[in-house]
Symmetry: C2
């Protein structure tokens, strides 16, 4: 008989529901009473705090400074760049009044209509551009490298926890440069920062690439992205970096005097990652027993589970756990102190154990009177079968713990990499391409084919036809992957393969 | 002849303008193009980041966990608590539409009207109460101790940088407890946390007290606060902690089963501090030459100013500065690495020096070839006269730097304390009270009398009359200050003095 999994349904049974259930079982977040908005609960928010801490330090090391710009954008600002407003007009939360008052029936209604409606920022290029136009006068003011951690709102019709929510948290970097080359370099540098962050901390292997015109950020000259494969083999865009050319500089009049005294428009960039990364983390690493957290970004890394069968041993075991926890917390890992929880809840041992498996904590250590006496502590890793335990003397545990955590981190990355490679195929004919993306298992429509690397002549009409036929899009044109070939759709010569996939 | 100050006007000349000029000269923030909203610039935002880091750690140590709740509150939620909506209805930004579309004249206008308007949170009791009602079922779920760092919006008619802005950043704690006593203890505990934070990190001496009914948070049973004296001798409320009784629990149906199986309403609290604290910092410590930052919360603590008269010495001096900066950054102070800047800008020495005085950096160290040769580095403290320098050998500097920073921190606190004590008076007759608060110097209406500690019989009508007559309010009833006395306005017996002052 098949063993019952902690998460019902399993990934194979219903991937979309499995995802929601993993989030629920790990207590990461829940739907709020506000349409499309979620409540991020402590175990989920701690992941975001860790992401912020690590990424913020990477942004500061690359010379960026944090700032804070208004939540509201005057409608006239958003309209300054034509493609930009076109792209965001359909999903804007609009503030039209600044107070509430009782109407004749005694019902509270909006009052104090604003002369100009304010849009809750969907992104901040225009409001930041307005400030840049005042801050920048000379080439000496450049490059200007700023970032902000903020909430943004995009009124999405179909939302999904972490992946697509009406309000989400993110960082948005905005920079201005004296030359096109420097702005291009910045755009690529930030893509590299995101890539390193994804690999080294999230254990998510991502593919760096450029978007085709149809998937570009509204108003950008070029958009670069990192794309990851989820366990349903769909692609998830995990971060973007935009080269904005002089489009926003012209819209906001960001001008500077060059060394020759000539007035020039600056070259700008913007780039961001969001709480969507938590969704990426869940879908990359979790299994049918729930969440699996990479140690370097985990809410906590270790839980100590006191095992107390006799009341008279209770104080001894708890005291031992407190001491051990303090010693572990004295160790620093991935730029912070190890986070250690002692679970003293008065519930059944099995229930307790499974709650931590579902929460994805990397390491569980059971501590009973005999373990203490023998100085042999049984340690379980979330990336190994649940019953598998290795015992460590306390001293050995303290000296090995960082290596064990690194080993878990590495296992997760290698597994994800193996999974992606297994489901990535080079495809060279139209027939194979259509066959690849035609669902084989009607029982399981949610598990898709994977990534197809295909030569492509960059014809937008064919791109659109493939999207219509198969629901598949070009996720990106991978960088630095030159190869001579032929587009299977047009027969034209091609110099590189593009990445096709279903996507979130 | 009087020496010209770096900030014009001086505090004595025009206090309100002086405040704006200090902010401008230090490059902390500026007005944005959105009414009442400001842009917080890097030097100002770094102060907020330091405040967040320190306070967040204090909140975690007292058992609170971070979460994130939606920006939007359905109008119906806000209405659940009658006093609450009454208090906030006049200053709500209201979202009524969720997209923009072109009208017949081709102008973009709000479209997609919402069935129920959404209010941009002015505070989150109601939306968090809604979640609490789902999360709490048993006494075992209590206490529930959460916090969030967020932006909030209150549509203020008269705004002032940092002190009162339409949008501001804050943390808001929300807790639920099984008993009234525990909720009361939590309310006081958080007031103590804020007090310690103000004294130890901001070097702002604050007075802990309780608000009278007229100044209570809308919906609270009791509101506690910390009040600080600014240099115009007005009071600034620097943080509040509210005991909400069962008001919000009843409004949101936050019920739990007690150990006897009876259903009970929980007892809740909320408490917060905001970016207003940056305004408090500016107005407590700065002088007529600009900002003065307490080292424990300063954006950076030390600036190295390379003094290069001869080009051939340049590389030697810069190399020395880089090494010194690295050694200083290797030291930890107030829970983080020392922040050290090397100012290599190609501008006049005097201009450079004064820019750092105006920015309030605690320590300036000039480094020239002779200083290096003699191993005697001239150090200037922002809390001392500008021309005063003490010289340190490099080794001595490295071993003394933390003490010097602590000494600056302590000087600022003692100065503020001395200032407050000088301008706080015990007043025992109505005549003295009215004389105290009647402006003496019509030339200088912005410098006020100070704090009056007066016995008071807590009659709201008299409180209102004093407000009408003098523009003075009860800032708080200081805690733990029992004293027998007589109310000078009613002649009634009183057991404690209250604090009267003009306020922000």
């Amino acid at each position: 008989m098949k063993e019952r999994t902690a998460i019902q349904p399993t990934r194979q049974e219903n991937y979309a529901e499995w995802y929601q259930e993993v989030i629920k079982a790990a207590d990461l977040a829940e739907h709020s009473s506000v349409r499309g908005c979620m409540v991020i609960k402590p175990w989920g928010y701690a992941i975001w705090e860790n992401m912020q801490r690590v990424l913020d330090s990477m942004l500061k090391k690359t010379g960026h400074q944090n700032t804070y710009f208004p939540l509201f954008i005057p409608l006239s600002f958003l309209q300054k760049e034509a493609e930009h407003i076109e792209g965001f007009a359909k999903e804007c939360a609009v503030v039209t009044h600044h107070r509430l008052e009782k109407n004749q029936e005694g019902k509270l209604v909006p009052a104090g209509e604003l002369e100009e409606p304010l849009v809750v920022r969907p992104t901040s290029e225009t409001i930041i551009g307005d400030a840049f136009s005042k801050w920048i006068t000379s080439y000496r003011d450049l490059p200007l490298l700023i970032n902000q951690w903020a909430n943004v709102v995009r009124w999405e019709m179909r939302t999904r926890m972490f992946l697509r929510t009406t309000e989400f948290l993110w960082q948005e970097g905005h920079t201005a440069h004296a030359t096109e080359k420097q702005a291009q370099e910045e755009t690529k540098l930030m893509l590299d920062v995101y890539t390193q962050f994804a690999y080294d901390f999230l254990a998510i292997p991502v593919i760096k690439g450029e978007k085709t015109a149809s998937e570009r950020f509204p108003g950008a000259v070029s958009t670069y992205c990192i794309e990851a494969m989820m366990q349903d083999r769909k692609a998830l865009q995990a971060g973007t970096s935009h080269f904005l050319g002089q489009n926003f500089a012209k819209a906001s009049q960001i001008l500077f005097q060059d060394p020759q005294g000539e007035s020039q428009f600056a070259w700008t960039t913007s780039w961001g990652v969001s709480t969507r990364l938590i969704g990426a983390l869940v879908m990359t690493h979790s299994d049918d027993d729930g969440l699996i957290l990479p140690p370097r970004i985990a809410s906590s890394q270790i839980v100590l589970l006191p095992v107390i069968h006799k009341e008279e041993k209770k104080e001894e075991v708890l005291k031992y756990c407190r001491t051990l926890a303090e010693e572990l917390r004295g160790l620093s890992y991935a730029g912070r102190s190890l986070e250690v929880i002692i679970d003293t809840r008065d519930i059944r041992g099995g229930e307790k154990l499974w709650s931590w498996i579902k929460k994805g904590i990397p390491i569980r250590i059971e501590v009973g009177p005999r373990d203490i006496e023998q100085d042999l502590l049984p340690l379980s890793r979330r990336d190994c079968p649940h019953r598998e335990k290795k015992t460590f003397s306390k001293q050995n545990l303290l000296s090995s713990i960082k290596n064990i955590l690194d080993s878990i981190q590495d296992t997760l990355l290698q597994r994800a990499l193996h999974f992606r490679n297994t489901h990535t195929h080079k495809i060279d004919t139209k027939e194979d391409f259509y066959a690849f993306f035609t669902p084989k298992n009607p029982k399981n429509p949610e598990i898709h084919a994977g990534f197809a690397l295909t030569h492509f002549s960059e014809d937008p009409n064919i791109e659109e036809k493939i999207k219509q036929d198969l629901g598949v899009t070009i996720r990106c044109i991978p960088l630095n992957e030159e190869e001579e070939g032929k587009c299977p759709f047009t027969g034209k010569k091609s110099t590189r393969r593009v990445l096709f996939a279903k996507s979130y």
